[in-house]
Symmetry: C2
Subunit: 136 residues, 2 copies
Amino acid sequence: MYSIQQISQMTGITAYTLRYYEKIGILPSPARHDGKPNGIRRYSDQDLSYIRFIHGLKQTGMKLEDIASFTEDGCLLKQDGEGIEDLPGTLQKRMAILDHHIEWLNQQMEQLERVKGIAEDKRSFYASLLQDHAEV
Amino acid sequence: MYSIQQISQMTGITAYTLRYYEKIGILPSPARHDGKPNGIRRYSDQDLSYIRFIHGLKQTGMKLEDIASFTEDGCLLKQDGEGIEDLPGTLQKRMAILDHHIEWLNQQMEQLERVKGIAEDKRSFYASLLQDHAEV
DNA sequence: ATAGAAGTTCGAGTTGACTCGAAGTCAAGC
DNA sequence: GCTTGACTTCGAGTCAACTCGAACTTCTAT
């Protein structure tokens, strides 16, 4: 179990931002200490890996609103393994959302390839000009 | 030569945004009508292709500030072919910036691959659960 | 028991990237 | 000649995504 600061250091997301993500429903509320330091967030390894996944989507340019669709409906993906006594309908719903995200990732990759192609064309154009110059 | 509205339609960027990009130095000022409708922007094909390139970088998640480094220093890349009597130093500078951008594009692609891998793992995990369920 | 560090909530402020409206110019068509 | 419509500049407004400070609690070490 990790504190918010530890999660912050491990993921590179500030504690401010982690609480903000929780507030707007992008991250599920983690377990809290029920003992002495009441109310303090305690993150599990599952929480950590979920946060990393979300962060990955974020860093590849997905909007928070779109990411939110993942966490919605009672934080479906909070735990990946347990509690799968729920109907296959829920599972299919999760998969549909994932498919949507994968589709988006593919489009991003295509876009990236296109732009990279243009950049490389420009680069080789400059390189050839430089070559010509050197030959004079 | 195109009007700002035509450029807007061809690129999907609003006229407001085009002027904004020009204002903050991301796009070079295009030629203007010097005849009657004084001051009206007239974009060339070169302008168009440059705008498309910039727009591509934008859509792949690059910040305007980082894109700006490309246009800086007197709108170096405004015209790709002409006026190359300038020193090879300038050329090398352009290439260095391009290299930087290509490097960034590569990193984005790696990131995208990573996240896609995680998403696909999740997906196949769900798929297998669904399979198990069906077999009961 | 008291100071300090780290956590809590809440609401306000900042930044980046647009987005728009107002006021004005200009050329063309009725 | 007068309206219409696309352009111009400029400054202000909006929205997403943080980012922070204030006021408070609560454990830990002196």
